[in-house]
């Protein structure tokens, strides 16, 4: 036993190499104590490997893992004060629900294990089925038992490996809210691995986006969405329109950009001082269909194009608008009485400059877009 450790979870230069490939490359991460942290990325990005290394189920090839001021890299899984909610739940089928939940407490010779287990089962509202076997429960109930079995031990870090992946959509939404409530109630550090960007954004205080074994960006959900720092993040979290732009001038707070001959603006603080070329990004819901005579914001960016597709989803209408140089922009127009347009119509798009973001021009404009489509399609 490592005894009681507590504090932030720190990964220092953690690398995991297998024979033919590197699953995780030089990962440096600090996960503050008591936070709800999400590791988000497409399948095969190394997020589960990272989680398994924290759990002690895999050993990093290089690097260290610390909890507070203790290096736990060399300890075995059963010696770590870390518990996991497995993707398959991994409930012991031969034990009752109560015996499943007391399993960890008994191994640690906690005397009032039964009372503590019942308390944990009450937290997940399953105290009434304590005597049943896992096979008699529904998927959602098993998921909650798995959660109770982990949190009853009050681990320093609770790891959740795609815990909601096997649940249907409605139950998943409900469990997302419940998980968040439970986390704030028990105050443990939760590290949640998921490929579902909506799930990560709903639940986590901080999200680390991973891609090909590396960290793309670590930030709170709003920052990740509004100010992505890579094309991968811009495309993987929601959708983005990326326009090839060149900096023409920087006057005061606003930079003037040239996009295929059109003059567009962006706040200067979004740009690095040396930036010449960039991807100018703007989210589809930030774009507005405007009439050529509409006043709008006086500094609004304007682009004109032809509607090539319009699909009504109830909440909104999704448009594809072809720009004069052939690129198609995604536009989401809220169903709030805003202007609409039919296919083939000539339209003007407008957006406020502060809704734009700048990305390094060397990156692939489509990075992450396919990953997201694959994963959401798989559900």
């Amino acid at each position: 036993m490592t005894g009681k450790t507590s504090g932030d979870l720190k990964l220092k230069g953690v690398t995991k190499r297998y024979e033919n490939f590197t699953a995780v490359e030089q990962l440096d991460l600090v996960i503050p104590r008591g936070s709800f942290f999400a590791l988000l990325g497409p399948s095969g990005c190394g997020k589960t490997t990272t989680l398994r290394m924290v759990a002690g189920l895999d050993q990093p090839t290089i690097g260290q893992i610390w909890i507070g001021d203790q290096d736990i890299t060399e300890t075995r899984a059963y010696q770590r004060n870390v518990n996991t909610v497995f993707q398959s739940y991994a409930l012991f089928p031969h034990l009752s629900i109560l015996d499943n939940v007391t399993f960890g407490l008994r191994r640690r010779k906690v005397s009032d294990h039964k009372a503590q287990a019942m308390e944990a089962l009450e937290l997940v509202q399953l105290a009434h089925i304590a005597k049943k076997k896992p096979g008699q429960l529904s998927g959602g109930m098993q998921q909650r038992v798995a959660l109770a079995r982990a949190i009853v031990n009050r681990p320093d870090v609770l790891l959740l490996d795609e815990p909601l992946g096997a649940l249907d959509l409605k139950l998943r939404r409900q469990m997302q809210i419940e998980l968040k409530q439970i986390q704030s109630e028990v105050g443990l550090t939760f590290v949640h691995v998921t490929h579902d960007q909506e799930e990560a954004m709903t639940m986590a205080d901080t999200i680390a986006v991973m891609n090909s074994g590396r960290l793309e960006q670590v930030a709170d959900p709003a920052t990740l969405y509004e100010r992505p720092t890579s094309t991968f993040v811009a495309n993987f979290l929601g959708q983005s329109n990326l326009l090839k732009a060149t900096v023409k001038s920087r006057a005061g707070a606003t930079a003037e950009l040239d996009v295929h001959g059109v003059n567009l603006r962006l706040p200067v603080d979004r740009l690095k001082e040396t930036t010449k070329e960039l991807w100018l990004g703007v989210r589809p819901e930030k774009l507005r269909l405007v009439g050529s005579t509409d006043v709008g914001g006086i500094d609004d960016n304007r682009l004109t194009g032809v509607v090539t597709d319009a699909s009504f989803t109830g909440l909104a209408t999704n448009y594809l608008v072809r720009l004069p140089w052939g690129q198609e922009l995604m536009v989401v127009q809220q169903n709030d009485g805003a202007r609409s347009a039919a296919r083939g119509a000539q339209v003007t798009l407008g957006w406020a400059p502060e809704h734009g973001f700048a990305l390094n021009a060397n990156q692939d404009a489509h990075a992450g877009a396919q990953d997201q489509a694959d994963d959401s399609g798989a559900i």
Binding site: G56, V82, F86, F92, P93, G104, R107
Partner: protein, 304 residues
């Protein structure tokens, strides 16, 4: 389009018939007939034979002579006891040998899995008799096994355990138990393997995650989950081993005679059919009782 999809399969279904479907019963018939002809009828004939008196020369007559059972048991109960002890010991040894092997094959062998399975089954390619005769050669006095056993004083250990009576290995309790263990090992490995292969590795990881040391993980998770395989394997080993008559004849001595060997000689050499039939019946009853107690103890619901 949607309408077509819904209607399509329904339209292809044959019209519902009012008469009952007898196919399952017809499929049951051959097996049932086989059991009646080759199990039920012989059992009745055996029961009847055990209660007849007479001799092969003068013919038998049904006399309900229950004294045959009393006589047979009073004379041969040591052979019964010996058979149970030998079979039980051999079953324990097969379990100890088979469990690690089956676990390795099921969980760790990877691409070697199929090759190992073939190797486990390979002995079946030769006859039971030949394999047992081979053990005579293996355990022969001037062979390397005996030399090794002598040099490591294993023969002394066996003598101390009264499994052998001198510093040889052949013609001893040890040889019989070793033969039984060897011959029935695949019957233990295969059920264990089938069970352990289905063992969800994430349960092992979960146990470790919940602070169980590897030893605790084995006793709290792996072992209880493998009980159906253990029960299946021990039954498949113990039942035939208890009635075995080859190993004790080929590898044992006059002090290691098992009940199967007695029945064999009563039928074929002494030709006392009544005693032979009575002994067969008692052996069956003893095994049924032992198995019933054992299965009840091991937890029947896990056997599904």
């Amino acid at each position: 389009m949607v309408g077509q999809l819904v209607e399509g399969p329904a339209a292809r279904q044959p019209p519902r018939r009012a008469r009952r479907n007898y196919t399952p019963y017809l499929l049951l018939l051959p097996g049932l007939a086989w059991l009646v002809v080759f199990f039920v009828v012989p059992m009745i004939s055996l029961a009847s034979q055990s209660l007849q008196t007479g001799s092969v020369e003068s013919g038998y007559s049904q006399t309900w002579h229950f004294q045959t059972y009393v006589d047979a048991l009073s004379q041969y109960w040591p052979h019964f006891a010996r058979s149970i002890v030998f079979a039980g010991t051999a079953t324990v040894f097969t379990l100890l040998l088979a469990y690690p092997l089956a676990y390795f094959m099921a969980q760790k062998a990877g691409k070697w899995k199929n090759i190992l399975l073939v190797l486990v089954i390979a002995p079946f390619f030769t006859s039971f008799l030949i394999r047992t005769l081979a053990w005579q050669t293996i355990l022969t006095d001037n062979g390397p096994v005996v030399a090794l056993a002598r040099s490591t004083h294993f023969t002394n250990v066996l003598q101390w355990l009264q499994l052998t009576s001198n510093d040889s290995l052949m013609n001893s309790r040890f040889a019989v138990i070793a033969g039984l263990t060897y011959n029935f090992l695949p019957f233990m490995i295969l059920p264990l393997y089938a069970n352990l292969e289905r063992l969800d590795h994430s349960l092992i990881e979960a146990a470790g995650d919940l602070y169980a040391t590897p030893i605790q993980t084995f006793w709290k998770v792996t072992w209880p989950l493998s009980l159906p395989g253990v029960v299946g394997g021990t039954l498949l080993t113990f039942i035939p081993a208890a009635g075995d008559f080859i190993n004790s004849r080929l590898l044992g001595n006059t002090q290691t005679v098992m009940i199967g060997q007695v029945i064999d000689s009563q039928f074929l050499q002494v030709q006392d059919y009544a005693v032979a039939a009575a002994l067969s019946f008692v052996l069956m009853a003893v095994i049924v009782v032992i198995v019933a107690l054992y299965v009840r103890r091991a937890g029947t619901e896990e056997l599904v």
